[in-house]
């Protein structure tokens, strides 16, 4: 932050020198019109690059805090479910009100798509965290509309509402499947064979939904990678369901736990 301000300071420090209108300043060193124009362009580039840096930083902060929420959700067990979930929701709200709000304030007009690459990773992670919390709480998919509605008081620099774009939402939901898979495997390992079934239905629905979407032009590589990972997660969960189904009846419940702990380690 210090460094950025220093750069900014230098850039603006140039300003009086470059305006070149006052005769006092131009007398010592006549500046060619070309240079004057480039000074102006230079300031424009500096402002742009500083904004990009701030967005990258804000995006990273969103990522870090969203990840913490996801980790917290993974620590949920039957004993602490309500309390942990409540805490996760509170943390998620904090990310929304602090980091995401800060990010949104940098943007206006064309900026959203211009700098999207700078802040998109953070927003994807936030989508992942928000949808994970919602799934654990209510067993359903948080829609983009609901997510954007929760951003109602977040405004960009032009006082326009800030929204998550469809590509970011879709990629975030793609990551959600990985979290769901982990929840299913650890749920089964903890002796809740039902966990795998619920997750299996969810991931299957997501995968089927994804399959009918055209490739995301904005993130082609991510898109392909995530579609592959998604199928892998689905296969893992389906295998877990299969194991519960086929072998579940052979073991008393207390032995199931051990069995799946092993297969969970093996597969992840």
């Amino acid at each position: 932050m210090e460094l950025q301000e220093d750069v900014g300071g230098r850039a603006f420090g140039k300003k009086p020198r470059t305006m070149g209108i006052s005769p006092v300043q131009t007398s010592s060193h006549e500046m060619s019109p070309l240079h004057a124009k480039f000074q102006e362009i230079g300031r424009e580039l500096d402002v742009m690059n500083e904004k990009r840096e701030r967005l990258v930083k804000a995006s990273r902060d969103v990522t870090i805090h969203s990840k913490k929420v996801i980790f917290a959700v993974h620590r949920i067990s039957a004993l602490n479910k309500a309390a942990t979930l409540e805490q996760a929701e509170r943390d998620l709200n904090a990310v929304r009100n602090n980091q995401v709000t800060r990010l949104a304030r940098e943007l206006q007009g064309n900026d959203y798509w211009k700098f999207r690459r700078a802040f998109s990773p953070g927003m994807q992670e936030f989508v992942e965290a928000a949808t994970t919390v919602e799934f654990v709480k209510n067993g359903r998919l948080l829609t983009l509309e609901e997510l954007n509605r929760s951003f109602f008081d977040i405004k960009d620099a032009a006082k326009q509402p800030f929204e998550v774009s469809i590509p970011d939402y879709i990629l975030g939901v793609g990551d959600l499947t990985g979290e769901l898979m982990r929840l299913a495997v650890s749920g089964v390992a903890a002796g809740q064979p039902g966990a795998a079934t619920a997750v299996c239905i969810m991931i299957r629905g997501l995968y089927e939904g994804f399959s009918m979407l055209p490739a995301l032009h904005e993130n082609l590589r991510d898109w392909r990678m995530k579609s592959d990972t998604m199928l892998q997660s689905l296969v893992k969960v389906e295998t877990a369901c299969y194991n519960v189904h086929v072998r579940g009846s052979e073991y008393p419940p207390e032995m199931l736990a051990g069995d799946f702990e092993y297969s969970g380690d093996d597969q992840s």
Binding site: I41, N110, Y112, G205, H217
Partner: protein, 226 residues
């Protein structure tokens, strides 16, 4: 959940259709740019001022077509406020070449650099509606620099010994202007790094001409001392 994906599908497909429309314009733009670039090539071996003028006029005659195509792009983007950069990649490369062509023609005409706003004026785009990205403009300028060494060599061969001095003055001015900018490690930076080699080549030609006493007025101020 299904409904949501259905909605995404139709929105993404619509965005894909926008890309298709842009691509159609761009492939036309490609054609115009190519022909315009080809029409400008004879400037390297135009023997008389008159011939050079004709080449420039021929090249300029394509500008209305560029305007038409850029206004089509602007029209597509107009319906999608704020999404200029969502589709920017489609016209980036072409815009580099367009900026190069316009500013090279302008320089040949006037020996002056075409400014960013002049580019927008020439293309008939309104900055608030469809601006030319500033970095695209700068990359286009770097392209002039790579064309100039060849131009200088050919001019000297054709007996124009003043040309290296003009070009060297212009290029060193451009080079020092670029050095004002704090560039990131990106394409523009890479293109800028090539600028000094162009300048060096031009200076070598200037040196050759000068040392052989071919310059008409030896007392002219040395451009390098700017």
């Amino acid at each position: 959940m299904e409904m949501q994906f259905e909605a995404f599908r139709s929105q993404l497909e619509e965005s894909g259709a926008v890309r298709e429309r842009i691509r159609a314009v761009i492939s036309e733009l490609d054609n115009v740019v190519r022909v315009m670039q080809a029409s400008l090539l004879p400037v390297h071996h135009a023997t008389t001022q008159q011939a050079a003028k004709e080449v420039l006029n021929k090249a300029k005659s394509y500008i209305p077509q560029l305007q038409k195509l850029y206004s089509q792009l602007a029209e597509i983007i107009r319906d999608r406020p704020g999404q200029y950069y969502r589709y920017h990649d489609h016209w980036r490369n072409q815009t580099h070449t367009v900026v190069f062509l316009l500013s090279f023609v302008h320089w040949l005409d006037t020996q002056l650099l075409l400014s960013h706003s002049e580019v927008e004026t020439l293309l008939g785009v309104k900055p608030e509606e469809f601006s030319i990205d500033i970095e695209d403009y700068l990359i286009g300028l770097c392209n002039i620099s790579s064309e100039l060494p060849r131009y200088v060599v050919n001019r000297v061969t054709a007996g124009d010994y003043e040309c290296p001095r003009q070009v060297s003055a212009f290029l060193s001015d451009l080079f020092s202007a670029f050095r004002i900018l704090n560039l990131r490690n990106d394409l523009l930076r890479k293109r800028f790094d090539g600028l000094k080699y162009d300048l060096k080549k031009v200076e070598e030609v200037l040196y050759d001409v000068k040392i052989r006493g071919l310059l008409s007025n030896q007392a002219a101020p040395k451009p390098m001392e700017s």
